[in-house]
Amino acid sequence: MMAVYIDQEICKGCEICVHYCPKNVLEMAADVNKRGFNYSSVVRPEDCIQCKLCEKMCPDLAIYVEKE
């Protein structure tokens, strides 16, 4: 089982991770963080193929994909 961690407090909601994920693992959450940004969240962790594109492309260093 894959684990994708998103630090919601430093996410700025640019949606680059959602746009580039080839398996649609991520989606934007309905909630906002304490800075008022709509953050991204993991909705389908079982689909993740560990390409790490979200972790590499995140401008805010908010995502970490842990390999099993």
Binding site: D7, F37, P59, L61
Partner: protein, 271 residues
């Protein structure tokens, strides 16, 4: 417990979230640089990073390296001074297109001519972003910016060609939507002995996107950059007219030349 990205160990404490706008390419370049450093096991304590003025120049502020941040366009003048005194220190310069191609243009061509042993990471976001989106030497023709509301009538600058003509020994260009190529490019540029320039075409959703493409969405900009990108192999098959307005990516030059070490008089006086 949320596990954090391991690259964050290179960021100064309590500096995140950084100052870049949501979806800014500068944040991505920071991420790519840290990944390249991590994969090559480079010790950041022994490195000097230099930034001038601009959005890109804020990148060194977040790194756990010795950092200089100050005068606009004079990054290479400082790098020359450090390199002549302590040639063993690796120097990485983060500069925007305004910093390097506009106000610091002369320092840039002369550092390239001398073949100073530094790595220059040029983040080209196609306008002067920090001051509000004015037209820059790198803005493509006919695109609107804040100071060119009827479209930019000037031809744009090919900074890679300028560097090659001036005598740089490693020159490559990539775009922010190709992470693996950028990471490899940064690694190659840091390993290369001599003046190495890596230009990264980047997105500025806040200013460039808003005026030129009527969208503040970073994905729209990244897709726009992706559509205009040609690899060097693809571009070689096209005529000069067909290549116009495209971003040609690839490694353009990699050669060995003697590195500038300055006059020996000063060094002998120091000893």
């Amino acid at each position: 417990m949320i596990k954090q990205n391991p690259q964050r160990k290179h960021i100064r404490d309590d500096k995140l979230p950084h100052f870049f706008c949501p979806g800014c390419g500068c944040g991505q370049v920071l991420n790519y640089f840290l990944r390249a450093v991590d994969e090559e096991n480079i010790n950041l304590d022994e490195m000097v990073t230099i930034g001038g003025v601009g959005c890109t120049a804020r990148i060194p502020v977040y790194l756990k390296t010795d950092t200089l941040h100050g005068v606009h366009g004079r990054t290479l003048a400082w790098a020359t001074g450090i390199k002549l005194h302590k040639p063993e220190i690796p120097i990485v310069i983060f500069a925007g297109d305004g910093d390097l191609a506009s106000i610091g243009g002369n320092h840039f061509i002369h550092a390239a001519r001398r073949n100073l042993d530094v790595t220059v990471i040029l983040v080209n976001n196609l306008n002067f972003a920090m001051t509000g989106g004015q037209v820059a030497p790198s803005t493509p023709s006919e695109l609107k910016t804040m100071t060119a509301p009827y479209g930019n009538k000037e031809p744009d600058f090919d900074i890679c060609k300028l560097a090659i003509a001036a005598g740089a020994t490693y020159v490559s260009r990539w775009t922010t939507d190709r992470p693996n190529q950028v990471i490899k490019g940064i690694k190659d540029a840091m390993k290369h002995k001599g003046f190495s320039l890596i230009e990264i075409i980047s997105q500025c959703p806040t200013h460039f996107g808003r005026y030129a493409l009527d969208s503040g969405n970073p994905q729209v900009l990244l897709d726009w950059i992706k559509d205009l990108t040609l690899t060097k192999t693809q571009a070689d098959k096209l005529t000069a007219q067909e290549q116009k307005g495209k971003f040609i990516i690839g490694e353009f030059i990699k050669e060995d030349k003697p590195v500038y070490t300055g006059s020996s008089v000063y060094k002998e006086a120091c000893q």
